[in-house]
Structures are given as structure tokens and as C-alpha cells.
């Protein structure tokens, strides 16, 4: 690959990092509110369900906006990648979107409904769980690679449906449930918080096990990933990733045991980021593994620069008012507190 270190080289790198940040923001933020939906069936009373839902109600819309930024960002910065990924992962993308429709409307519908409330409880739980599952499937489908000919998707409609993708789907459900449970530990009190803490203790080893399985499966199944991790000197640079993950998991476990309320949430965010970085290391610089890199799929500099200017100005502003809203709705949501 010809790398002349000009704008043509830097811009796609900057954009892939920005896109990675947007998707990470999405996974963390919508992760916990989807997680609450996954844990919904385990709540014992309607009041507890209210409390769980109220803890994310002011935020979920903003959280989901990162998904639009992820999709939109891919279209903006790497239109060729977007035009290949979407048809390749057509069915899981649509299934995920439909699941998100159900759980999204459930917030307001459940609040207004009386007799039919149980229906929207189901819609919220099933929608959240399926959305999480298909996001995992998308991740798996992306990591395992997409068949490309002449810069267009050339595979079949079910290429994505592999055991590996299904494993990733279940792993993401477990991961979101974990981050949802530690969010509840932080944001609720009483029975809801106690139950959430118990869930978090159960889920933590499960999530670690999934991370381990994915970490072993990918290098075994995909030689390109093995080469990235297990050749010198990469091995020495990359070894800290799993080590730090284990260490942090041990801390989260301890924080949960010791009754900390906020630390487990931030610890789990850390675990998510580490897992995410691990995937990034396995993939980069491919945007359509195993054939197209970020440079080959990039929009021309005119488009990337135009959008970068807006992003440089807007991203701090956006992060500012998101922080403001989280600060405004700080503190715990107590049982019996009203919706709007």
C-alpha cells in the first residue's frame, strides 16, 4: 500500500477514529438503556419497572442518536463501505431497527397505557433484547468478513448467519445486561438496586467468559487476526490489553462486593472500552475485512474536511449539553417517583 503521509492518509485515519468514538459512545450509552430492557422481565413489580425505565427515560433518545451518527458517519466518511456493509448485513440491520422501533415507542406508550401496559412491557423487553442480539450479530458479521467484488457486496443474503455471529449476539446481550445492571446499581435504590447488584455479580463472569471465547475464536478462525496479535513485536505491545481487562474485572467484582454504587458502572465502561479496543486492533485498517481498508473506502478530502470542520465545532458542544443533561438528572430515581 502506498502511504504518502498527506491529507489522503490522515483524513481517513482521523475519521475512522471519530467513527470508532461515535460507535463506542453508542455501545456504552445505549448499552445501558438496552440493558435495562433486557433485565426488565426480572423486575418483580410494576413500581420497580417504572423505576428502571425512569432511570433512563430522559436519556434514551440522546443515546440512540449516536447510532444515527454511527450510520450517518459511515455514509459521510466512507460511503463505499456504507454501500457494501448495508446490503451485506441487510437482514440483521433491519431486524435490529425494527426491534429498536418497538422498544423506543414502549417508553411513551407504556406510560400512557393502563390495561395494555403489559404489552408494552413485553415490547420493551423483547425489543431491547433483540436489538442487542442483532447488534452483536452485526459485529460478528463484520469481523468475520464480507465478500466484495468490483467494490460491491457479492455474497448471499445469509452470509452473516454463522455460529460466530450468533455467539457475538449472545455476548452483546450479556454485556448490555451487565452495563444495565451496574447503571441501576448507581441510579436506583431499594429493591431495584439490590436486585441489580445481584444481577451484576452473576453477569460479570458470564461477560468475561464471552470475551475470552471471542478472543480465542477470532485468531483461530481468522489467520489475519492471529497474525495481528501473536507475532512479535505486536505480542508485547498488545499483551497489556487482556491483562488490564482481567485486572479491571477483578476490581469491578470487589467494588460490587463492597457495596460501591458508582464505581462498578465506570469499571464496566472500562471493560467495554478494552473489549472494543481489542476488536479495533484485530480489524484496523480494514473497514470491510478482509479486503477494503479505510483509505480505499474513504470519501474524497473535500467531503471529509467539510464534515470535519463541523465535527470539530459541534462535538464539544454536543458533549457539553449531554453532560449537562446527565448532571441535571443526577441522583437516584426512587420507587414511586412520577414520569413526566
Amino acid at each position: 500500500m502506498d502511504i504518502s503521509l498527506g491529507m489522503d492518509w490522515y483524513l481517513p485515519v482521523i475519521w475512522s477514529l471519530l467513527l470508532a468514538v461515535a460507535i463506542a459512545m453508542y455501545v456504552i450509552l445505549d448499552g445501558f438503556d438496552l440493558g435495562i430492557g433486557i433485565l426488565f422481565p426480572f423486575a418483580r413489580s410494576e413500581l420497580e419497572k417504572d423505576q428502571m425505565m425512569n432511570s433512563v427515560a430522559p436519556f434514551w433518545d440522546g443515546n440512540e442518536t449516536w447510532l444515527v451518527l454511527g450510520g450517518g458517519g459511515l455514509l459521510v466518511a466512507f460511503p463505499l463501505a456504507y454501500s457494501i456493509v448495508m446490503p451485506a448485513l441487510y437482514l440483521p440491520v433491519i431486524f435490529m431497527l425494527l426491534a429498536l422501533v418497538f422498544r423506543g415507542v414502549a417508553f411513551e406508550f407504556r406510560h400512557v397505557a393502563d390495561d395494555s401496559r403489559f404489552l408494552w412491557n413485553i415490547a420493551f423487553a423483547a425489543g431491547s433484547t433483540l436489538a442487542a442480539f442483532f447488534q452483536g450479530v452485526l459485529l460478528g458479521g463484520f469481523v468475520q468478513g464480507i465478500k466484495v467484488e468490483n467494490n460491491a457486496f457479492a455474497g448471499g443474503p445469509l452470509d452473516w448467519a454463522t455460529p460466530f455471529a450468533a455467539l457475538c449476539g449472545v455476548a452483546v446481550v450479556a454485556g448490555y445486561a451487565l452495563i444495565g445492571s451496574v447503571w441501576l446499581v448507581m441510579k436506583t435504590d431499594g429493591a431495584a438496586a439490590r436486585r441489580a447488584r445481584a444481577h451484576a455479580k452473576l453477569l460479570l463472569p458470564v461477560v468475561l467468559a464471552f470475551m475470552a471465547v471471542v478472543s480465542l475464536w477470532t485468531p483461530i478462525a481468522f489467520p489475519r487476526i492471529a497474525e495481528r496479535w501473536f507475532t512479535t513485536p505486536n505480542l508485547f505491545y498488545l499483551a497489556p490489553v487482556p491483562v488490564v481487562t482481567l485486572l479491571l474485572a477483578w476490581f469491578v467484582r470487589r467494588w460490587l462486593e463492597e457495596g460501591h454504587e458508582n464505581l462498578p458502572f465506570f469499571g464496566v465502561i472500562g471493560l467495554f472500552i478494552l473489549g472494543y479496543v481489542g476488536i479495533g486492533i484485530s480489524i484496523f485498517p480494514y473497514l470491510i475485512p478482509p479486503s477494503l481498508t479505510v483509505w480505499e473506502t474513504a470519501a474524497p478530502p473535500a467531503s471529509q474536511v467539510f464534515m470535519l470542520i463541523g465535527t470539530v465545532f459541534m462535538l464539544p458542544v454536543i458533549l457539553g449539553y449531554i453532560a449537562f443533561v446527565y448532571w441535571l438528572f443526577r441522583g437516584k430515581v426512587r420507587e414511586g417517583e412520577g414520569y413526566h
Binding site: P58, G62, Y82, Y90, F306
Partner: protein, 470 residues
């Protein structure tokens, strides 16, 4: 069974985007209305503005939620259904959508949290500010997405390199020839749509004798807005039509079912009031037309001419029937809107609007008028752009994703099922919220209005009769 991916992709996209446009069509205006009410509340201290704002905020929450989830779907469907389009136009369209997300979506989503859940948590001024931000966000969102749509109608500021559009001049891309007209036309349409919902809700309460003060305020504000904006919209629409005639003459020919000067008529083009456009014979069956009026409207001159459909190659002509009929529905409803607005304004001026049963009673049912008009308008402009997805650049037939027909058929069925459930749920719950009405003190009609005792007695009786059924 064989499925044609092109037809399926088009049906699916038409379905999901038509479903989606209903919600922004409502919430853009509603956000502005709620912000106006809150500003009035802050400025005058009248509690009724606060009550109405809170009431419509609940309806806003339900509608906005549906708008958000159906909108997320669309941001992915550009790729799932139209990946060659995403590849060809992504460099140009992508950043416009990116700017929409950055400047509008985050703004509205974040401040929506404060708007819905902050009533008792933030100072009054901050809540008003949040509402204004949500309203600004919805309008900014309209700005960018209409710019992107307009670029597909009248592409500008780009050059084609190896079959892919590359941006050359961003200002010409954003402010492409049809954008200012489309933006003005759509935002005005959104305000009118909301005004008619508010009018219908107000009329429903006035007729039932409920929420005396609030109901009258709703009707007054709505009538005022409609009386001014509906005629303004006619002028904007006319200007938009002129613009289309200049840049997309095929679309105008289809709208007017104007085939060309082969029937012996020279000079002025008639205005076809009704006809059954026949694409095989390339003429209209059962035509009722007014001579010269078509010329007068489109060229603003008695004998002006414009191109007929037959002057375009058959493969470059849009389908005729949909733009033709949808346009007539849109204009017909627009005229009805002006009539309702002006009549209401006259009755308000005569101070007898709330007592005029024949005016108030039917108004309870006018809430869908704006939605139907907006959908008709979009059918005119989108079907009228065919056979192109990007006008004169990319044909819709060449823009279909490489996705198996059965996969598209499956998802289409799922979309119809899910949206049907969600939509009926939404309409049902919004209707329930309307039945519950605004809450708070002083919402019931005063027991005696000194200067019109009979009217309020009449209302009280009506309330007593209607109350059990509510």
C-alpha cells in the same frame, strides 16, 4: 415465487418514509407551538398557556418517539435499499445528513429530556429555553434533510469522477436551486398541519363544553395562524411550481397531465381539472379543463406554453397518474385550509366563532387535513422525480441494492406489521391523551359569564350530556 427487488425496495422505502414524514410533519410545528406557549406563559404569567403547553407536550412525547424510531430506520435504508445511490451520492449527501445529526438530532434529543422530564426540576426560564432548543432542533433537522432531498431533485455544485459525485462547491450543494422553495413550503406545511390538529382538539373541547378557557385559546391561536399561513402557503407553492417548471419540466408536465400540442390547441395551455391520464394513448380520457388557465398559473401569461410529456423520451417521463391526482388533492385541501382560516377569522372578528355550531362541529374532524396534504405533496415531488433517484444523474432502477428479493419481501412484510401496530398504538394513545385533556386548576367552564349567560348555560348542558361518553 419471484420477487423483483426494485419494486420491493421502492414500495418499502415509500412505505417507511411516508410513515416517517407524518411525525416530523406534526412535531416541527408542535415544537414551535409549545415553545410559543411557554414564551407567552413566561411573558404574561397566564396559567392557561402553561396548561396547554403541558398538555401538548404529552402528545409531543408520543409523536416524537415514533418520529425518532422511524427516522433511525431511514438513515440505514439509504444503504440497505439503495447502496449504489449511497456510493454515487454519498460524498455529497452524506455530509448533509452528518450535519443534520450533529446540529439538530443531538440538540433536540438532549433538550427533549429536559422538556419532558424537567417540569419540576429546572427553573421556568430554563424549561422555556429547552423547548425553544427542541423547536430549533426540529427546524434545523428539516433544513438539512430537505437540502439533501432537494439536491436529489436539482443537483448542483458537484462533478462526476469515475461514476461518483464529488463535491465542488458546498454552498451551491446546500442551497441548490429547489431547496429554498422546498424548505419554505415544507416548514409552512408543518406549521399548518399542527395548527389544524390544535384547531380540531380545541373545537372538540369547545363543542363538548370542556376546558372552556384553554379550548378557546387553542382555537383562537390556530385560526389566527391558519388565516395568515394558508394563503402565504399558496404563494410559496406557486413559486415552488415556477421553480420546478424551470428545473424539472417533466414533473410539471406530469402534474398538469399536459401531453403536448398535438390536439390542435396552440398557444395557451388549459388547466386540467379532472382527467384520467392514459399513458398508452398519450392523452387524457374524460378530461375537464379550463382553457388558458394552465398557462396563466404556470407562466403567468395568457398564451404562455410549457413542454408537454410527449416532448420527453418515454423512458425519461415520470408516471403521470400519481403526481396528477396527488397534486389535485394537495391544492384542493390547501384551498379548504384557506377557507377555514378566513371564515374563522371573520367569525372571531364578529365575536361569535365559539357559538357557531356549524363551524365548530365539523372542525373536530379536520385534524388529518395537514397530514394528507403533506403526504400528497411528497407524492407529487418524489414520484414526479422518477425515473430518477438523482435527477438526470442516477436512475432509480440502477440504484437498487444487491439484496435478494425474498429478503426484501420478508422485511417489507415485517415493516408493514410493526408499523401498523405502532401506528395504531400511537393514534389510540394520543386520542386517549386528548380525551383526558389539559390538567390543572381553572380548566372547567366558568359557571356564569355575565355578558353571555345563555351561551355558558348551553355549554354546561352540552358538557353534562357529553361527559359520560368521554
Amino acid at each position: 415465487m419471484e420477487f423483483d427487488p426494485e419494486i420491493l425496495a421502492r414500495i418499502q422505502f415509500a412505505f417507511t418514509i411516508s410513515f416517517h414524514v407524518i411525525f416530523p410533519g406534526f412535531t416541527i410545528g408542535l415544537a414551535a407551538y409549545i415553545a410559543t406557549l411557554e414564551v407567552l406563559w413566561l411573558a404574561t404569567g397566564h396559567e392557561r398557556y402553561h396548561r396547554i403547553a403541558r398538555f401538548f407536550t404529552k402528545i409531543f412525547a408520543v409523536s416524537f418517539g415514533m418520529g425518532v424510531v422511524s427516522g433511525i430506520v431511514l438513515s440505514y435504508q439509504f444503504g440497505t435499499n439503495w447502496s449504489p445511490f449511497a456510493r454515487l451520492a454519498g460524498n455529497v449527501i452524506g455530509p448533509l445528513i452528518g450535519y443534520e445529526v450533529l446540529t439538530a438530532f443531538f440538540l433536540e434529543a438532549t433538550f427533549l429530556g429536559i422538556m419532558l422530564f424537567g417540569w419540576n426540576r429546572v427553573p421556568r426560564g430554563l424549561h422555556v429555553f429547552a423547548c425553544v432548543m427542541v423547536a430549533a432542533g426540529t427546524s434545523l433537522s428539516a433544513f438539512w434533510i430537505l437540502s439533501a432531498n432537494s439536491w436529489m431533485q436539482t443537483p448542483a455544485g458537484y462533478q462526476m469522477i469515475d461514476g461518483v459525485a464529488h463535491p465542488v462547491d458546498w454552498l451551491s450543494i446546500i442551497f441548490n436551486p429547489s431547496f429554498p422553495f422546498r424548505f419554505a413550503h415544507m416548514v409552512t406545511a408543518c406549521y399548518l398541519t399542527t395548527a389544524f390538529v390544535v384547531l380540531a382538539v380545541g373545537a372538540r373541547y369547545v363543542y363538548a363544553g370542556r376546558y372552556h378557557e384553554d379550548a378557546r385559546t387553542m382555537m383562537r391561536m390556530a385560526i389566527g395562524l391558519i388565516a395568515i399561513l394558508a394563503p402565504v402557503q399558496a404563494f410559496i407553492g406557486d413559486a415552488h411550481g415556477q421553480n420546478t417548471l424551470k428545473y424539472q419540466p417533466e414533473k410539471i408536465a406530469a402534474i398538469e397531465a399536459h401531453w403536448g400540442e398535438t390536439d390542435g390547441v396552440t398557444g395557451g395551455v388549459p388547466l386540467v381539472l379532472f382527467a384520467w391520464p392514459n399513458e398508452t394513448t398519450e392523452s387524457n380520457d374524460y378530461q375537464i379543463a379550463i382553457p388558458h388557465l394552465g398557462s396563466l398559473i404556470l407562466t403567468h401569461s395568457w398564451d404562455g406554453t410549457f413542454k408537454g410529456l410527449k416532448e420527453f423520451a418515454p423512458q425519461d417521463r415520470p408516471p403521470v397518474a400519481i403526481p396528477f391526482f396527488a397534486f389535485r388533492i394537495m391544492v384542493g385541501l390547501g384551498v379548504l385550509m384557506i377557507a377555514i382560516g378566513w371564515l374563522g377569522a371573520y367569525l372571531l372578528w364578529r365575536r361569535r366563532v365559539f357559538e357557531t355550531d356549524w363551524y365548530v362541529r365539523p372542525l373536530q374532524y379536520v385534524w388529518p387535513i395537514g397530514f394528507v396534504t403533506i403526504l400528497s405533496g411528497w407524492f407529487v415531488t418524489e414520484v414526479g422525480r422518477q425515473p430518477w433517484v438523482v435527477y438526470n444523474v442516477l436512475r432509480t432502477a440502477d440504484a437498487v441494492s444487491p439484496v435478494a428479493g425474498w429478503a426484501m419481501a420478508t422485511t417489507l412484510a415485517l415493516f408493514v406489521l410493526v408499523y401498523a401496530i405502532v401506528f395504531s398504538g400511537g393514534v389510540y394513545y394520543i386520542n386517549r391523551l386528548i380525551n383526558k385533556g389539559p390538567e390543572g386548576p381553572a380548566v372547567e367552564p366558568p359557571t356564569g359569564v355575565p355578558n353571555r349567560p345563555l351561551a355558558s348555560a348551553h355549554e354546561a348542558t352540552r358538557a353534562a350530556i357529553n361527559a359520560p361518553g368521554e
